[in-house]
Amino acid sequence: MQLRVLRQPTMEEVTEMAEDVTFRVFRGEPDEDGTPVGKMVDYTITMDEGMVVLDVIHRIQSEHAPDLSCRWNCKAGKCGSCSAEVNGKPRLMCMTRMEDILQETPDGEPVLVKPMQAFPLIKDLVSDVSWAYELDKTISPLDGPEEMDWVFAQNEADRLQEFRSCIECMLCVNTCHVMREHQLWDKFAGPRFFVKLATLEMHPLDTTDRIPQVKDEFGIGYCNITRCCTEVCPAGINITDNAIIPLKERVVTEFYDPLAIIAKKLGLR
């Protein structure tokens, strides 16, 4: 194929393009009890300009280790498949530029890549996130009206569209200490699903009341608003302020506000 060279790269660019990088990647599988067993393996590749972490992983696969496991799909931050922990920080590998990673990695040190640590391991960088799919089934869906004659304004849509931009990467769940440290998988729905519950609760076409479930089954009280989830969200959703806190307020109103309880009994709300 003929390539047209339109501009001579500068010396700095040439040096930068030819730069080698070493990745220290987790390779391993769980043992019979589900405990990850494996080791960190070093791979060195030559980088191109503008690479993201996922590009480096792909290059390791094509040059060194075809069986290195990693999930990915869109490579554009839209599907939420390639979640991992790079230098200890949960992020999407496809949206993490090497330029930024090299800046934060100490000179002479390798870049560390591990799977999400809160979830069980399948192999290498692939986590078992089936918990999320099981939990999702327990949230009752929207019951839209039969007659298709609704209208609602853009400002009503806006706050929901923020939540609907969730790509289910599960980085928020991976980061949440209720999961990561306390492993309350069966008592707490986790940030992603509070975002979903908030969407349903605020949806103009929905009438189901899920607040009792939010309080009991989904254990929203375990969240103590440390905002770790919001910090790692690659979609930039303000999970804590816009989803979790409003849900907590609704729980308080429905269960703990004496005036509201009386009003409800009297049928005033």
Binding site: D67, N73, D124
Partner: protein, 626 residues
């Protein structure tokens, strides 16, 4: 083989993108037991990457719109090689499919009156695309996922189907392996729906995810189904081109729908030089008029001016960009400039949030302040499984196809936005008909054990090979070859070379050795994908070689103009001969009804098409079967 697990369902849906999920929802609603088998995790399928919107003549933004105009635009954009009945069904039914999504929780952008908003797109006469900023695919898949999860379908995630089975000529099931644990599975099924999406991973510069290796197309072909229109592969005009690692990632047509314009390195809005005769009446011929149209749209008025030429159909814009490049007027990194920075910063961020972030984070470009650099990227295959327009059943009894895996609706070129409405409309129909088709079967057919044993052996053999190539290298070479030889501009010489290269790649395919085990082994998975990629690539090359004209997405350097005679009326059909060889023939769709024909632009149609319409006979043509 002791570790094969057998499952039994009325309907098996392969693929969990928009078409697959919509089909599964409909089939479960009709009372069938349904399995959905998908290569990725649920909610991650390629549909999630769709940006601009779903086309439906809701007429919310412009009351002049109607299904008739949508039908006419789709046929014109497809250069009249569309299955007109599919185009009619699609135009009539897509508004209900969009409304239904809202009923299920989708939150489309609103008009000032609180209705579903609609945006302008290439080839659509009126603003027609329901959208959510530039993340429409995500909204669509999430809505269908949420609906589907509660419909009773069973989902088999991270499973790849390797073979379909027929028994006495009727579909009887399929074989799949689990990508995560390497386990082997046979699904007995009364009917199967292929909703496997496209094939664009066969090109080096593409907008597709890893899933787009064409296995669905290959599965249908291998089991004897007819494949249509495989020469028509759409190159989307605007993919990212810089830095190299993002090359091919889609830049939504919505940028141009919102007023973005294209310039070359001389600052010229070159699209004014590329307006084809058939569209000359509908597009602005001065920058002033184009700008006046954008002003009307921004102010929410009905357009009275003609639209900017940047909104011509994708085939036209992609070829124009290619020509500018050839003429030495490329942008810094070999594309052209796409500029939306003249619009209000907040509006750009609101209407195109994904594009804003994509460029900011991956290319360090602020699109509210500077132009983007873009170039064509392999985006969509118009060709696929030939289906009955009413039922979506293929030429193999009990096998259905919907969405990008099927062919017919889009002809020689798809209009932006018609894909999401396609997969909703025909996904529903496929689900409905596959369910009733399964209800008409008394019992499951017995699958030939020999065929099961054969596919198991084929599936496991790469793991036992040693000392061979890394499969990634074979795939890389295949994609580079297709980019060069079966790309935007084709010629007999290049296409013949491509067919020879494919033979060589097929030999290399049989000796790859990925190493490792059956547990989540991407090297093994890739080794298994190559066979499908080679057969699909061969279909494209053979069909492209046969079509000696340029039409829609298919451009031949040696036959640069559209043929007004023979080729304007025939569609290619590829099938497998009993001896395993690939053969091609050409056929004409049944004649269009006079009512529908009256909706088309008469100046676009040749005189003998007029007489064809009155003859009322289907003609078969063997021309070009070499």
């Amino acid at each position: 083989m002791s570790d094969v697990k057998t499952h039994r369902y009325d309907v098996v849906v392969i693929g969990a993108g928009g078409a697959g999920l919509r089909a599964a929802i409909e089939a479960t609603r009709a009372g069938a037991s349904v399995a959905v088998i998908c290569k990725s995790m649920l909610g991650k399928a390629h549909t999630v990457m769709a940006e601009g919107g779903a086309a439906a003549a809701l007429a919310n933004k412009d009351p002049r719109d109607s299904w008739q105009t949508h039908f006419r635009d789709t046929m014109k954009g497809g250069k009249y090689l569309n299955d007109w009945r599919m185009a009619e069904i699609h135009a009539r039914e897509s508004p209900d499919r969009i409304r239904e999504l809202e009923q299920w929780g989708a939150i489309f952008d609103r008009t000032p009156d609180g209705l579903t908003s609609q945006r302008n797109f290439g080839g659509h006469t009126y603003p027609r695309l329901a959208h959510i900023g530039d993340a429409t695919g995500l909204e669509l898949i999430r809505t269908l996922q949420e609906r589907g999860v509660h419909s009773g379908m069973e989902v088999f995630m991270e499973y790849t189907v390797r073979r379909l089975f027929t028994t006495d000529g009727r579909i009887s099931g399929c074989f799949a392996y689990n990508r995560a644990d390497g386990s082997l599975h046979v699904f007995e099924a009364k009917t199967i729906i292929l909703a496997t999406g496209g094939i664009t991973r066969c090109w080096a510069v593409c907008s597709g995810s890893w899933e787009y290796t064409g296995e669905g197309h290959a599965l249908a072909y291998w089991v004897g189904a007819e494949m249509g229109d495989m020469e028509f592969v759409q190159f989307h005009p605007t993919g990212m081109i810089w830095p190299p690692s993002v090359k091919g990632i889609l830049v939504t047509e919505g940028v141009r729908g919102e007023g973005g314009f294209l310039t070359n390195n001389e600052g010229e809005r070159f699209m004014f030089n590329y307006v084809p005769e058939m569209y000359a009446d509908e597009f602005a011929d001065t920058e002033a008029e184009a700008l006046a149209w954008v002003d009307e749209i921004i102010e929410g008025k009905l357009a009275t001016k003609r639209r900017p030429p940047e909104l011509l159909t994708r085939d036209v814009v992609a070829k124009a960009i290619n020509s500018e490049r050839e003429a030495g007027r490329a942008s810094e990194h070999g594309g052209v400039y796409l500029d939306i920075s003249w619009r209000d910063e907040e509006q750009v961020k609101k209407k195109l949030p994904g594009m804003y972030h994509q460029f900011k984070e991956l290319a360090a470009v602020d699109i509210t302040k500077e132009p983007m650099e873009v170039g064509p990227t392999a985006h969509y295959v118009m060709g696929g499984v030939k289906v009955d327009p009413e039922t979506q059943e293929s030429t193999v009894a009990g096998l259905y196809a919907a969405g990008e895996a099927a062919t017919g609706l889009h002809g020689a070129n798809r209009l932006g936005g018609n894909s999401l409405s396609d997969l909703l409309t025909f996904g529903k129909r496929a689900g409905d008909n596959a369910a009733s088709g399964s209800a008409a079967c008394d019992d499951w057919l017995v699958i030939n054990q020999g065929e099961i044993d054969e596919v198991i052996a084929e599936t496991l053999v790469p793991l036992s090979r040693e000392g061979g190539e890394n499969p990634a290298k074979v795939v890389e070479d295949l994609r580079e070859m297709m980019q060069e030889k079966v790309g935007i501009i084709r010629s007999a010489k290049l296409l013949q070379e491509a067919l020879e290269d494919l033979d060589a790649l097929a030999n290399r395919e049989t000796t790859t050795s990925p190493g490792g085990t059956r547990i989540y082994n991407p090297g093994w998975h890739q080794a298994l994908e190559i066979g499908a990629m080679i057969d699909i690539s061969r279909m494209c090359a053979i069909a492209a070689l046969a079509r000696e004209e340029s039409r829609g997405a298919h451009t031949r350097e040696d036959f640069p103009t559209p043929d007004k005679g023979h080729w304007s009326k025939v569609n290619s059909i590829i099938s497998q001969r009993p001896d395993g060889e690939m053969e091609i023939r050409h056929e004409t769709y049944p004649p269009i009804s006079s009512e529908l024909r009256a909706l088309l632009d008469s100046s676009d149609l040749s005189d003998d098409e007029q007489s064809d319409a009155t003859e009322g006979a289907t003609t078969t043509d063997d021309g070009g079967s070499d």
